[in-house]
């Protein structure tokens, strides 16, 4: 990102665009303004300014604003074409007035005549490239290049073959054309008509395109660019209107109402466009200034975070920050979640680097940002960003550990469930078979009159039943089937049924994720077990679902001090991102279940 790394030629071009362009624009603008005033002062002029002071004022103000804003913008954002386009527009607008300066220098007049058609492509280019300075869509680029092509052709034909003096319908332009090679009135006329039709078609397509763009949702808090876009579309429509009017009435007389009214409208709209672009420019300055203070703001309110501070500075709600975690080899957001930022039509991705290392990426709306966001974020801010990055990475690692903890717990549960099933389907079946055989033997002994054998077999049968009961208790301890079959509510009640002290249970009948149910169940079981050793009081368990959390309150009454010792279940609660809080006489367990 350092300047010295850039190739020399880029720096030369850079210097050129930074210093030469603005001077050229300012000079051309000043010339146009002076010529317009001169043209208006000449009573024989056919310019709008000569026919009305209002028209003169409108056009002078429009040209001055456009050239001034355009020049400043091209100094400020040399990489962005918008400034130059706005200044061109002002110069061309002035040029179209100078055409009517009958007594003016022929070179100035003829130049105005030749470059006048360029208003169309410049306006189309400006409209479709606003505000990034680049048209994105294929159709947009096609429209721009065809507008340039037809305007240049029209200008060249005008220069070479149009003789205003031979034109029956000339009004503003009835003086000599110094570029004329060979007067061909038929060709000149035809070319002019074709150009007017092309203006109408391209103009309407541009307006439709702008309307579709304006209907898209915007990420901006206040979208000034839309207002400017609307004015640009209006201005294109005015050009379409003027083309239509010229097709109907080729004599452009500034004193006739339709032409005069249209001129005033064009003048006002162009002046407003200049103001709008100027406002956007000042917004850019404000953005820059607030980016300069980014470090202080990040330091003052670290809890707000880069994303919110940047969104505020840019006035862009779509700002997203992704931090690069070299350890995890992926991008994470401030809370440690994995994110992928994709560029889009209204979404640019800027990288933030610090001493050669990528800190992260910022996705934003390029229309609202300064040209080089990376450069504007100062080194002090980068330190704060790096801190934020480290915290995000830490959070991501914590959540990774938590996920692996959950997986371990889940695997363990699956295994326990399998063991429980194996006990039932294997050992229990064998014990049942054994009890059957013992009973058969017992019956046989009784039939044979061997009462001693029958008695001892009866005792054996009782032992088998005890073994079955033990096995059942063991299997239930390993994995509580009722939790899976019936859910938390019946499972907790079953726990309460066997507790050595009274336990009141209040639980929702909703079903939750198996891991959540298991954690909740084991928590209560552990609470009962640890309380059971000193079973003197009673417990009240109340489980509720609130805001995507399963909240359990375990109240110990008559225990002093209350037994709060969740050694095993706190791991599970932690693995699910939950928490345990203990109070004088109660435990509060919160498990996220949303």
């Amino acid at each position: 990102m350092s300047d010295s790394a850039e190739p020399r030629s880029t720096r030369v071009t850079d210097r050129f665009t930074r210093s030469i362009w603005p001077s050229v624009l300012a000079l051309a603008g000043a010339t146009a303004l002076a010529a317009m005033v001169q043209a208006a002062e000449e009573p024989s002029s056919r310019s709008y300014g000569a026919s009305s002071n209002h028209a003169l004022a409108a056009s002078l103000v429009g040209v001055a604003i456009l050239v001034a804003v355009g020049t400043v913008a091209s100094i400020n954002r040399p990489g962005n074409a918008i400034g130059r386009l706005v200044a061109f527009l002002g110069i061309l607008w002035g040029a179209s007035e100078v055409i009517g300066w009958t007594t003016g220098p022929p070179l100035v007049r003829s130049t105005g005549l030749v470059i006048e058609p360029m208003i169309l492509p410049i306006l189309v280019h400006l409209t479709l490239a606003f505000p990034q300075g680049r048209a994105v869509g294929k159709l947009d680029r096609l429209l721009i290049s065809s507008a340039y092509l037809t305007a240049i052709l029209a200008g060249m034909v005008r220069a070479a073959f149009y003789d205003p003096i031979r034109d029956m319908s000339c009004h503003r332009i009835c003086s000599n054309n110094i570029f004329l090679l060979d007067p061909k009135p038929g060709l000149a006329h035809l070319t002019n008509d074709v150009f007017l039709w092309v203006t109408i078609v391209i103009g309407l397509l541009v307006v439709v395109g702008v309307a579709r763009r304006a209907l898209r949702p915007s990420s901006a808090r206040f979208d000034g660019t839309r207002i400017v876009l609307g004015l640009l579309a209006l201005s294109v429509l005015a050009e379409v209107g003027r083309a239509g009017l010229l097709l109907v009435d080729p004599i452009e007389d500034p004193r006739t109402t339709p032409f005069f009214a249209l001129f005033i409208v064009r003048g006002i709209v162009l002046a407003l466009i200049g103001l709008g672009v100027g406002w956007e420019l000042s917004r850019m300055w404000r953005v820059r200034r607030s980016l300069e203070t980014l470090a202080e703001r990040l330091e003052a309110t670290p809890e707000v975070g880069l994303q919110a501070v940047l969104a505020d500075a840019l006035g862009d709600e779509s700002v997203e920050v992704a931090y690069w975690s070299p350890r995890l080899d992926r991008h994470v957001d401030a809370s440690g979640r994995t994110v992928t930022l994709e560029p889009g039509p209204e979404r640019a991705i800027a990288a933030i680097e610090r001493s050669g290392n990528t800190l992260g990426l910022v996705a934003h709306n390029p229309a609202l940002a300064v040209a080089d966001l990376q450069r504007e974020i100062g080194s002090a801010a980068r330190l704060a960003v790096d801190n934020e990055r480290l915290r995000a990475e830490l959070l991501a690692q914590v959540s990774e550990i938590r996920a692996s903890q959950s997986r371990i717990v889940e695997e363990g549960d699956a295994m326990r469930r399998q063991i429980e099933r194996d006990l039932h389907d294997g050992a229990q079946q064998r014990l049942l078979a054994l009890s059957y055989q013992v009973r058969l033997a017992q019956a046989a002994a009784a039939n044979a009159g061997d009462s001693a054998a029958a008695q001892s077999l009866a005792a054996a049968s009782d032992e088998v039943l005890l073994a079955l009961a033990d096995l059942r208790a063991l299997a239930h301890g390993i994995f509580p089937s009722i939790l899976v079959d019936g859910g938390l509510s019946p499972a907790l009640r079953a726990l309460g049924d066997q507790a050595p002290m009274p336990v009141e249970i209040e639980a929702p009948t909703d079903r939750f994720e198996p891991a959540v149910e298991m954690a909740a169940y084991l928590t209560i079981r552990e609470a009962i077990e640890s309380a059971g050793r000193r079973a003197s009081g009673h417990m009240r368990v109340s489980a509720k679902v609130k805001d995507d959390d399963l909240t359990m309150e375990i109240l110990f009454e008559g225990f002093a001090p209350p037994p709060v010792d969740l050694v095993h279940s706190s791991d599970r609660i932690g693995a699910l991102g939950g928490s345990v809080e203990s109070d004088d006489d109660r435990l509060r367990v919160v498990i996220p279940c949303g």
Partner: protein
């Protein structure tokens, strides 16, 4: 499986005719439709998931054959399973722990009671409910005899059945039941099946 063969043997020796044997819920439902037995004996755990298919199958049988008896064998001591089974239709329904399947006396008695329209709840479950710790224990106010009567009622016995067990007259049982229900604040229902559910619900509350 040995258990199934063992049960068949125990029942046959006890003079009960086994008309069909099935090893999965679908087969069970098919055989039940065809053979229309007096009572169906079903394991709570059956393929495919080995959880509580027996209860699901019992519900299906109930829908198609409202008067057929059903005895579910379970390895679960939790009263929730028994209540889930009995809730909708307690009459001619039974819930026994698997441990007892080879105790011919218990099984045959259960089958006969179910066949006669009674409800059967495994005594182990009832005694677990009785053993539950309570903050205010109204059961403590009962006389030992009343407690005995109440637990037999919870096992699903009718007044006549209780009388036979305790070697007293049905009238005495009736008097005990009335006083017990009064003490516990339960309303006595003439329907003995609803009475089972009421007592179980009370014990569980």
């Amino acid at each position: 499986m040995l258990t199934r063969e063992g049960i068949v043997h125990v029942l046959t020796v006890a003079g009960i005719e086994v008309v069909a044997v099935a090893d999965n819920p679908d087969e069970l439902l098919r055989r039940v439709d065809r053979e229309e037995p007096d009572v169906v004996v079903a394991d709570i755990r059956m393929p495919p998931t080995h959880t509580h298919e027996g209860i699901v199958a019992a519900r299906r049988i109930r829908q198609n054959h409202p008067n057929m008896g059903i005895l579910v064998l379970s390895q679960f001591l939790d009263p929730a399973y028994a209540l889930e089974l009995l809730q909708d239709h307690p009459e001619r329904t039974g819930y026994l722990l698997k441990d007892r399947v080879f105790d011919a006396a218990v099984v045959v008695d259960a089958l006969n009671r179910i066949h006669q329209g009674e409800t059967v709840v495994d005594p182990t479950i009832v005694s677990r409910l009785f053993g539950r710790q309570r903050r205010e224990n109204p059961i403590a106010d009962l006389t030992p005899r009343e407690r005995e009567v109440l637990s037999l009622v919870a096992e699903g016995l009718s007044n006549k059945g209780v009388a036979e067990r305790l070697f007293v007259t049905p009238r005495t049982v009736e008097a005990h039941v009335t006083s017990t229900f009064l003490k516990l604040g339960l309303t006595e229902s003439p329907d003995s099946h609803r009475r089972v559910l009421a007592v179980l619900a009370f014990l569980r509350a």
